[in-house]
Symmetry: C2
Subunit: 282 residues, 2 copies
């Protein structure tokens, strides 16, 4: 199995409202839990109880479409509100993410990192020292994980920043975006992922669910083609529409019914009947 | 800060329905996320997307009542469906839990383990080898964490097992309970915690929310008095009633409002007004 490490702050973890998009259930997408793999369900990067939709699910879904029968795992290590200084190479977040990735690598091949961070550094001229810190971090991950050429996808901060709500304080997000773009264009095996056209929750800082689905597709475009994605993709709306109509496999349907039962939305008899029906179906 | 390690299977993680009990918000209770501490919110042991109420929150709440002004952290490492063999000393779950506890111990003093496991071993005469495996596991945790005398609270499996739903297959839960009791009574610094009178979700295997609140109180009684708890506590119902009426601190009220805002239940203006009102209150 291949795996992908998610690091950064809240927009990598995901804060899109769960109820705003169709759920992605896919028996070929896993998430790391207690060092092992479980079938993915969102919120998958549960750094906070308010975690929601991030870019990883649509990224992984798009990956499975290109790799029929194969599986992918996501390693959720993004941490809400974290600054680049909190991602220092000797900091807890970095050491913990390396630990999680190392557990994951016992049973998977790490093939990339998705990075999205910078809102917490979009003020007070922090952009001036951001590049060195980011390069040092990426170098450290590649060294510690023994993956010297590991591809790193670098997502741009939302263009909606600096305006309203919690996003208002991110007055220097354009400068951070310049650094992110520079690093993506100059550092080996790094690709830039634009946030052009993506929109925010009412808080003005967290990307909304639909935007996160699109962002994940762009991350995957960058990853799969190993190229910079500097514009929105033509397929985004169509893909989201199509994904919402994807027919679930038997295992996925059982997963959905088991979820309902575990949450008390079905009684045992109803649940048993539903499972029998699924098992007897083609 | 003191900390407590949660290990075992789903009833330690928690599967009680969230909506069935009053939420516990307490700025002196933390949970480990990405190697660091965050203010606790349930579900706190997010091994599955269906995770719910477990014993840890009422345990920690009771702890804070006895330690005014001090803080406690919980380290969630319980894994749904795990058997004692999956908690082998060289297994992923064990190594991961030790890793998480080690991160936590950088910033806290580990003062105990809460253990609840055995449903997955309540069939096929697995009880015959359970004792040795459990003793070996406890010894390993104490050694690896350099806490040779670490107290371990051992919760009994629910008396409702073996009857209905998913619990029906746990036909040998009484034998496992005998082993759990024996280990608790013979191994140093181990205490037994009865599940007498506690009830299940409709699945017949997962303890319901109210029962988990009571169970947490029993775990705390065992921990704080270093004694076996072999009967229900007189204070259980009264405590739950009182906890639901506990007045929140300013920080806790801000946490609640921030949660609502993050989930899209308040707009930014409403949120700002609520926060101002809280800040201006006594």
């Amino acid at each position: 199995m291949k795996s992908i490490l998610l690091i950064g702050q809240s927009n990598m973890a995901g804060r899109g409202f769960i109820e705003d998009v169709s759920s992605i259930y896919n028996e070929h997408i896993n998430m790391l839990r207690n060092g092992r793999w479980q079938m993915m369900a969102e919120p998958l990067n549960f750094d906070r109880h308010i975690s929601g939709i991030g870019p990883a699910a649509s990224f992984a879904q798009a990956w499975t479409e290109d790799h029929p029968g194969e599986s992918i795992g996501v390693i959720p290590c993004a941490e809400g509100g974290s600054s680049i200084d909190e991602w220092a190479i000797d900091g807890l977040l970095t050491r913990h993410a390396i630990s999680e990735a190392t557990f994951a690598m016992e049973t998977s091949e790490l093939v990339g990192i998705l990075w999205h961070q910078g809102e917490s550094d979009s003020h007070g001229e922090r952009y001036k020292t951001y590049e060195d810190k980011l390069l040092s971090l990426f170098k450290h991950f590649r060294e510690e994980l023994n993956t010297p050429d590991l591809p790193i996808m670098i997502g741009e901060l939302g263009h909606y920043l600096g305006e309203v709500g919690f996003g208002k304080s991110a007055v220097e997000y354009k400068q951070i975006n310049q650094v992110l773009s520079k690093v993506a264009h100059t550092e080996k095996n790094c690709c830039f992922v634009t946030s052009k056209g993506l929109t925010a929750n009412p808080d003005g800082i967290h990307m909304d669910s639909i935007s996160q689905r699109k962002f994940g597709l762009r991350y995957y475009e960058a990853f799969s083609k190993q190229k910079h994605v500097v514009d929105s993709l033509d397929i985004e709306n169509e893909w989201i529409e199509k994904a919402s109509k994807r027919e679930l496999t038997k295992n996925e349907r059982i997963f959905v019914e088991s979820t309902k039962f575990a949450l008390g939305q079905l009684n045992f008899e109803e649940f048993s009947i539903h499972i029998s029906t699924i098992n007897e179906s083609k």
